[in-house]
Symmetry: C2
Amino acid sequence: MTEAEFIAALRGLPLHPGAHGLADDAAHLGDLIFTKDMIVEGVHYLPGDPPGDVAWKLLAANLSDLAAKGAVPVGALLGYALGHDDFDRAFLAGLGEACAALDCPLLGGDTVRTSGPRTLSLTAIGRSAAAPLRGGARAGDALWVTGSIGDAGAGLAIARGREGPAALLAAYRRPQPLLAEGRALAAHVSAMMDVSDGLLIDAARMADASGCAVSIDLAAVPLSAALTAFAGDTRASRLAACTAGDDYQLLFALAGDRAPPVAATRIGGFAGGRGLSIHGAGAPLPLPASLGWLHD
Amino acid sequence: MTEAEFIAALRGLPLHPGAHGLADDAAHLGDLIFTKDMIVEGVHYLPGDPPGDVAWKLLAANLSDLAAKGAVPVGALLGYALGHDDFDRAFLAGLGEACAALDCPLLGGDTVRTSGPRTLSLTAIGRSAAAPLRGGARAGDALWVTGSIGDAGAGLAIARGREGPAALLAAYRRPQPLLAEGRALAAHVSAMMDVSDGLLIDAARMADASGCAVSIDLAAVPLSAALTAFAGDTRASRLAACTAGDDYQLLFALAGDRAPPVAATRIGGFAGGRGLSIHGAGAPLPLPASLGWLHD
């Protein structure tokens, strides 16, 4: 089964109302927010990635889901597959750095041992008084994104051996969950989510969950100077940036006439109908074959 | 690193006060209780175990940790490794049965794909107004256990191919978390935990966390009629029962003169000092080489 088929089947099971029909990255229980990610060696991280960076990213990716809810981190439960001592020690050091820097203490967890690729799991808990959903965008809303898009995708190419600047590699290995920005935005947006699988696929998911169409101006998508120096600024490089994963920027919908309370770029808008379209210089552009990083 | 070494190292990281120094199976956040288990194919379940039973046991084992806190289940987050369609479908069916029968809806989760042995993860959330810890036993308390011990261990032998009764196999494959019993006991006990790795090792852990010594009368340990018919009733069979895992009975400490509000058997007591001892017919017995199922 694909992930989508599995999740569709899960919807036939008894669901908590706070699961939002499994249509969101996070679940609610009163003002508590829950999110859970698993990562697999060789799938979600490279076997050569430094273990401390793997730990950082495991926590940061979960906290990015909390950031999209405007939440303050409360704690994390770790599921860890024990392996080689050197890896374990470096992982612990990186996790300790991440817990301290991102202000998220450990609540508990479990360890196992496996002969196969390591599978790691983390459940993060946060608290948010006004958590936006991804499905609240309305026709007429503008689509905004924080920061720059595509740096982590370039960083992955560098981690795989291409020459490139350390800043892009760091964007891939040590992403920063935008917790303060998420809290500042939460009460203002009509929908919010983090960009984890690629801007295009995540925008399409927001539109789908909201029952709207979304259109993105490819030329408006913010690219960093480091990325354009590394990959150029062509339609192809912009499409590559918009379909790469691991950005962990915040993507949000805001009523058309409002300005967001944090630095962000307006990249498109929502309208009646369904689906994603992209355009450049006023003309529609064909969608790329892949909109982002699919799990299957 | 061993699990114990890893957990000891984790204690150097920022910990939430509700983590209880990682000395318990569950963490607290107000009246919410969190527990997380990972299971690995070939380690925690047999590759030939029916997928629906694997799902049942994953949820039941977590809910057993909640039972030991006197908690009502609130919801669960599933971390699932996708694999063969037949397994996935049968797993979903078993999980649906378990969620309905054990009254625990799904809150969310994540799926991954791995080329290695499946690793599955579940975080269960419960609510308890008065959750006992495992470390609250006092010298003079009696040690009690619900139900019977060793059935699941015999069931594992049957799952591995030995002839034996279906009731013992079911004890291994479809354990029942004692949620109602846990709630009835929570306000009365001085310490409680579930028996998941073996009666002897879990009793030793309770004594260690409580700063007491514990003594167990091997002859008092309750064995089912099915187990004694299957394995006999000798010192060796009793030691095998007391060191097998997956019982999911509740083990608790109660002030010496009190009777528990649920059916249970008094099997020993706590005293000053440290460590575990066992005796039979009034005489001390040597401890077996292994006290239970160790994760490493």
